[in-house]
Symmetry: C2
Subunit: 341 residues, 2 copies
């Protein structure tokens, strides 16, 4: 740095008071301060454009003003909008967010968490990979405030903010059923340990049993979203399996995108050849004729609520873990509506 930043000592000497008084001023404790000194201090601070050093503050006070956020994939709209919700909320309350991207890699997740803690973040908002539960619980036991965003832990032993996955999945399958589709392909990435995928998968099976009276497993397709060709093949096979109106449900936005690509590759017409539904309304779903039926998640609000809960917990870490489930919205469009009778 060319020009060295002014420190509290410099302010003190120019204002002709001790640094204790400056510190009081900085922390808004004017109770016993004469108006005169207060004004003098303010003048000096403005003059120097003095700003306290947060590292020093944090070191002394154990309050860094930093909140760590881990997301699985910042490149996906879900994560980035969630991050925005967190950021806006934290800013308003005097916190800065440090964001790290785990790429769904449990090892990266651990490394980043360690590093965030080294930077003395006051709390953590985690979109978990699902493979570090024990590690997270240790941290909790060490007293670090943690909120789990979007993907719950199986045990729910941490504060969790998510959306009503089971309900919406069921409702969507029922919608397809009521529209007269006679079978539904469930298109998903490997479940890995991702709890939302798991819940959606299980709910799908349940809906198949209760509505179609079948074991849904035969309609489940595990795919790699980047390999549209294979997906197209699988889809073809699904369609040829039986006659009658068929539909598909994509487990998340990335998968839905692949699904629509595969449909285009096969030159299928929605909903006649295949009814289409799935997770994540990312702006383009309405544009693809005849409009894709999607479940729109409250990502921004998940971010906001996670941040609020975390900040609460930073102030008082005693409360029992709480589960907050925010509602998603099923947006029905042409791709799942059969106009034939």
């Amino acid at each position: 740095m060319a020009t060295d930043k002014p420190t509290i000592d410099k302010v003190a000497s120019l204002a002709k008071v001790s640094k204790t008084t400056i510190s009081r001023y900085l922390n808004g404790r004017f109770e016993f301060m004469s108006d005169e000194t207060r004004k003098r201090i303010r003048a000096v601070i403005e003059e120097l454009d003095y700003r306290p050093n947060n590292l020093a503050r944090g070191l002394k006070s154990n309050r860094s003003g930093l909140i760590g956020v881990l997301v699985a994939d910042i490149g996906s709209p879900f994560s980035s909008i969630l991050v925005k919700g967190v950021g806006d909320t934290c800013k308003d309350r005097g916190y800065q967010t440090i964001i790290a991207n785990t790429d769904n890699d449990p090892q990266k997740e651990r490394e980043y968490i360690r590093s965030l803690i080294d930077n003395r973040v006051e709390g953590l908002i985690v979109n978990i990979t699902g493979q570090n539960d024990d590690f997270l619980l240790e941290l909790k036991d060490e007293g670090i405030p943690i909120v789990v965003a979007d993907r719950p832990m199986e045990t729910l032993s941490l504060d969790t903010v998510t959306s009503n996955n089971a309900e919406m999945t069921y409702r969507t399958i029922r919608h397809l059923y009521e529209q007269g589709f006679e079978r539904v392909a469930f298109i998903t990435q490997q479940i890995s340990q991702v709890r939302t995928r798991y819940v959606r998968h299980q709910t799908f099976l349940k809906a198949c049993r209760e509505l179609y009276g079948v074991d849904g497993e035969k309609w489940v397709y595990f795919i790699d979203p980047s390999d549209v060709g294979s997906l197209a093949q699988e889809l073809q096979a699904f369609l040829e399996m039986e006659d009658g109106p068929a539909a598909a449900f994509a487990v998340n936005g990335v998968t839905l995108l692949s699904l629509v690509k595969a449909i285009r590759e096969l030159d299928l017409v929605m909903p006649d050849d295949l009814g289409v539904t799935g997770y994540d309304d990312w702006g383009w779903a309405s544009l693809i004729p005849p409009g894709i039926t999607t479940i729109s998640q409250p990502s921004y609000n998940v971010g906001v609520q996670s941040a609020l809960r975390l900040i609460q917990r930073i102030k008082d870490n005693r409360p029992k873990p709480k589960l907050i489930e925010l509602p998603s919205e099923l947006i029905v469009r042409g791709s799942s509506v059969r106009n034939v009778k």
Copy 2:
């Protein structure tokens, strides 16, 4: 925190050496350290799961290991992918990124920058709003390493990583011209002070002069992307203005999305009623029949290069500012290809 974290003192006492030695160990200066003490220290550190406090480190050494990143809108794929590029690159080199979202608001931009500096970030990567040039230059003069990502400053007085906007815009208009479109609407948000918008706008005008021999201003439409209805009206007016094949160019991804929505609202057929091109290939452009012609920007790489340049500059802040222009790609799809002769 329930269990207090171990400090360097604790490690020192358990390892029966002074904290100087521990500090040496932590910083990898084993040159004059006996193998035995080294092992002993390692054992104690593992045993305690000791990790140094970054705040204390940064306070003393003036190296926080933090890099600040400001983006205009983290919710847009452009920003979030850029952020990912920055994050990946920084992580590999031992830096953490603090990300802040300015919402294109110059005041927020200033506030965030101040706050990042309070946290002693070692450098800044900024997707500038374009209205804080003086402020940024002051910071530069104070010795803070800064890289401008995507949106250049008019004066180029800072390191800049961006893409070849002028070239790609010109090439796209020429493509439309060569396809026999007789006029081109330029759909844009308010330029504000956003340099990329400005450059694209100016290039459009230039292309109009050189190719069509007209003043392109009459074909420029300033729109609010969230107001699809108005855009549809304007588009209608543009189409009715004259006969002959007409096309449109959207200045960025957000605008392109609105444009396509408006086209759907008006029930226009691409490319017969309107040829469509524009910035940002965000995954869905290929899905909308007949496929939308887009310019795909190297966002990830802009992030990577920005980070690399910044880290270089953190090490040596003397070099003259450099402009790095990365190539974008024009992806021609059905929306701009006239198959009639």
